[in-house]
């Protein structure tokens, strides 16, 4: 991977700048969109190499083993119709390919002198597919619905988790202690939405990437699942629902009444349900046009890497900057001993696991939590010394802990969270690497997901040794380091780390200092071995050569192409070329 540190830092600064100041964004918008009068139902702005408008059909595979109940983020985040989710609205902001916050439904935003009240100005003329104007009241109603305890939204934890960045009174409203009207979300007028936070939180605009919305009118008339029926579904996004047979087939078509920033070039997207095991086979047979990386097996990757066409059309990207790692209960023996944790950290042969188990196309060895490329990440490899494969050193640490050559070390059971075959193999190999180096016994047990999470979240934890992955929720170190503070889900505490993350998260006006504080905090995490970091995942998608679009074919400033996390422009930009 070739990373340009200066460009990355520059991108990060721009991100913060966007977070603090009013941004017109009209230049970028005009670059991305045509004038509203040119908006058509599909075929919008098709380039010269495009197939005829009526052939603009993208077929995507959908996983028929998933538990899915809704299209809408505001109804259930973890149970969305994953392959065709979030196409029925635009969020307040979007991210460009360099992860800068850019306008979406909101054309500009500003923060008041207190740093806590943000004002988002919606674009004029936005509307729902039934012709109803889209207003700030829709956003207000959506947030109130999501915060209402009777909705039991599965993402409520998020606005509590981000602390100072949390919406004012969020925690009290979701606890049922205050009415939803007390929420720090206010529709000032049709085009003005006010978001009040608990404290000063510079990355708030980036968090509004999650400001998906529901139609207030449809919500009141038909309830939260109104989008599960083409007759009651309404969309303020580039597509509308036309066919709904979950588990079999879902079809959306270009929204003729769309007035947003990413009008569709495609006429139609067909979601075809199938077993994840057959995604690649269906791709080979020409039944679908894309396959996401997590559905490609090591055997599929061998085929891809040996075929120049497939290889050129597998586009690798950062995804959600996901890291796979081992976690401990550091409050009880044997992992309350730093020497034991260090022994584990040095006993893990990351390079071999990446090379032989993941495959280098899918991962890079991890020596810390933040994937290189993520803000405040260790792009220079300075933290490698704390977590790298060095078996003699590992043995010495274990001996210092009182277990020379592994003697007397209690046999461990390492829990996995209902992993599939590919990730099970990774964690099996990790356990084997550690066990072999340290001459200890580690048994791997792949648990049911709910059993695992119950044990992990229990206080005190019931999970002594486990493996898991985590990807970002928003592009700020406060997110991926925030999950390691002592109030989070990991049973590891370091007061200095806690205070450093808390201080850095709320720091305004000194970007450099803020970033350095996060870097220092991560060094503590790695050195004190809060977790043993295995690998950062390269994510990606396999496309048919005729699936085109600058949004994913043209690389970002780091030379990385592919569908970038948070860059929803993709759905308006992708098209079918005449090469089909």
């Amino acid at each position: 991977m070739k990373l340009n540190e200066s460009k990355r830092t520059s991108g990060w600064r721009r991100f913060l700048k966007y977070s603090k100041k009013i941004v017109g964004g009209t230049t970028l918008l005009s670059a991305l969109c045509l004038t509203p009068s040119a908006v058509l139902a599909g075929g919008h702005g098709l380039p010269k190499d495009a197939a005829p408008a009526d052939q603009q059909v993208l077929r995507v595979p959908c996983d028929n083993t998933r538990n899915e109940v809704t299209f809408d983020f505001a109804v259930a985040v973890y149970q969305r119709y994953e392959c065709i989710a979030d196409l029925f609205q635009d969020t307040l902001v979007d991210l460009d390919k360099d992860f800068n916050v850019i306008p979406a439904s909101a054309e500009s935003w500003s923060v008041d002198a207190s740093g806590k009240v943000w004002t988002f100005k919606l674009r004029e003329g936005l509307q729902w597919s039934d012709g109803t104007p889209l207003t700030a009241a829709d956003y207000e109603a959506t947030f109130r619905y999501s915060a209402d305890p009777s909705s039991a939204w599965d993402f409520t934890w998020f606005y509590s988790f981000i602390g100072a960045g949390g919406i004012k009174n969020w925690s009290k409203v979701i606890a049922g202690e205050m009415p939803t009207s007390a929420l720090g979300i206010r529709a000032v007028d049709d085009l003005t939405l006010e978001v009040e936070t608990e404290g000063v939180f510079p990355p708030l605009p980036g968090v509004m990437k999650f400001a998906f919305l529901l139609s207030k009118k449809a919500l009141e008339a038909h309830g939260p699942y109104y989008n599960n029926d083409p007759d009651t579904s309404v969309s303020a996004g580039p597509y509308v629902l036309t066919e709904f047979d979950p588990g079999n087939r879902i079809v959306v078509e270009a929204n003729p009444n769309y007035k947003g920033y990413r009008p569709a070039r495609l006429q139609r997207i067909e979601g075809i349900y199938m077993s994840p095991a057959t995604f690649f086979t269906a791709f080979q047979q020409g039944e679908v046009d894309t396959v996401p990386y997590e559905r490609l097996t090591p055997a599929d990757f061998k085929v891809i890497e040996s075929d120049p066409v497939l290889k050129n059309n597998y586009l690798r990207h950062f995804g959600d900057f996901r890291t796979d790692y081992l976690l401990f209960d550091t409050y009880t023996a044997p992992f309350n001993d730093l020497n034991v944790r260090k022994a584990f950290a040095y006993a893990l042969d990351r390079d071999a696991i990446v090379k032989n188990v993941y495959g280098e196309i899918k991962a890079m060895p991890a020596h810390s939590m933040l994937m290189p490329g993520y803000p405040a990440s260790d792009t220079k490899g300075e933290l490698k010394q704390y977590q790298t494969f060095d078996c003699p050193k590992a043995k010495k640490h274990l001996a210092d802990a009182g277990y020379p050559d592994g003697k007397g070390f209690p046999a461990q059971e390492m829990w996995l969270r209902g992993e599939g075959p590919a990730m099970s193999a990774v964690y099996q190999a990790s356990a084997a690497s550690i066990a072999q180096c340290l001459n200890i016994k580690i048994e791997v047990s792949n648990k049911d997901g709910k059993v695992y999470m119950d044990a992990l979240n229990a206080k005190p934890t019931q999970l002594t040794l486990g493996a898991v992955s985590y990807g970002m929720d928003f592009l700020d170190p406060a997110n991926l380091l925030g999950i390691w503070v002592s109030s989070g889900r990991h049973s590891w505490t370091n007061e200095k780390f806690d205070s450093m993350v808390a201080e850095a998260s709320n720091l305004v006006g000194d970007d450099k200092k803020r970033e350095q504080m996060f870097r220092d905090a991560q060094k503590i995490l790695v050195d004190d071995v809060g977790g043993v970091f295995i690998a950062h995942r390269w994510q990606g998608d396999l496309f048919k050569p005729y699936v085109q679009g600058d949004s994913f074919r043209v690389p970002d400033s780091n030379g990385i192409s592919g569908k970038h996390w948070g860059n929803d422009w993709y759905w308006g930009n992708v098209y079918i070329s005449n090469a089909k």
Partner: protein, 321 residues
């Protein structure tokens, strides 16, 4: 006979009651609930609300009584996996497809299996017999999801003769949306194992009957070979076949997650697994009760079939001793 059938139906009700108690107890004793999240926990107020909404805030015994009092009226509740529909509607819709798959598979598996078994038995120890025995052993030992992938790779990907999935969506059908080209691969993959079992049982039963004295006598009397086979061999070979093969039917008409998942069939099969993984209590109960009911009914039908095949069998008759 009628009294016997009524008695058996009553016994089936008792069995369903016992199954419901066992399943209900087991699913509530497994760690992790239906609304435990993967990332963060629901706030207590939200959790309390959703538990109340689905009646999960009540003691387990009360939940059971609530569930069963609705279930006897065919109200099996709302599936947590599809909160915008009901369990009855979801099962009705998905099972209709599974039954199509199952019945077609039964016709193919039993049709070809019985023919192959008869042919192998009649030509005992010939190369045909060896081939049928070998293919039958292969059919029983290779899992259907492996067969499914082989079929897809050969007939859909390599040869491109048949669609690799769907059910009635290929547009090439004999009647409306029925008997389509996309039925062929799933039915063949699904039918191979039961077909192998049917062929083996048929062969074994017929070989055994063909060695009986009365068959030899029939031949000695000068009956034609066709009459010997039809009147004496087939009829007497049916009882062991019905006993062994009847039990395949409930398996086939309640679906296979592997077949349905691999061939993109939106049937009931997957819910047996996903309901358990998601702790979807209403769906778990409904699917288990459905299976128990089908097994119970099928055993009853098998017993009734005995009386039709062999007049000496009298259901419910008192013992002579």
């Amino acid at each position: 006979m009628l009294g016997y059938i009524c008695g058996r139906i009553l016994a089936l009700m008792m069995i369903l009651l016992a199954v419901s108690v066992i399943v209900f107890s087991l699913m509530h004793s497994v760690p992790g609930g239906p609304f435990d999240e993967r990332k963060g926990r629901l706030p207590p107020a939200a959790k309390a609300n959703i538990l109340k909404k689905y009646g999960l805030d009540q003691p387990v015994w009360k939940q059971y009584i609530n569930y069963m009092s609705h279930a006897v009226r065919f109200d099996f509740g709302i599936p947590y996996q599809r909160p915008h529909t009901t369990v009855a509607k979801l099962i009705g819709k998905s099972w209709a497809i599974t039954v199509q798959v199952g019945l077609t598979t039964i016709v193919v598996a039993f049709g070809f299996g019985i023919l192959a078994g008869i042919y192998a038995a009649y030509h005992q120890n010939s190369w045909v017999d060896t081939l049928v025995t070998f293919v039958s052993s292969l059919g029983v030992t290779v899992p259907n999801f492996v067969v499914a992938m082989w079929l897809i790779l050969i007939f859909a990907v390599s040869l491109d003769w048949l669609p690799m999935g769907g059910w009635g969506s290929s547009g090439q059908c004999l009647i409306d949306k029925y008997f389509c080209t996309d039925w062929i691969l799933p039915v063949v993959a699904y039918a191979i194992a039961p077909m192998a079992i049917v062929a083996r049982y048929t062969r074994a039963s017929i070989v055994e009957v063909m060695g009986e004295d009365y068959v030899r006598t029939a031949r000695a009397k000068g009956l034609s070979e066709v009459k010997v086979m039809r009147k004496h061999v087939f009829r007497n070979a049916q009882i062991p076949m019905v006993t062994a093969l009847g039990t395949e039917i409930p398996n086939l008409i309640t679906g296979s997650i592997f077949i349905e998942s691999t061939f993109r069939i939106n049937g009931l099969g997957k819910y047996f697994v996903t309901s358990t993984l998601n702790r979807d209590y209403p769906m778990i109960m409904a699917t288990f009760l459905l299976v128990a009911f089908l097994w119970g009914i099928l055993y009853l039908l098998t017993d009734i079939a005995y009386t039709m095949i062999d007049p000496r069998v009298r259901l419910g008759a008192k013992s002579l001793s």
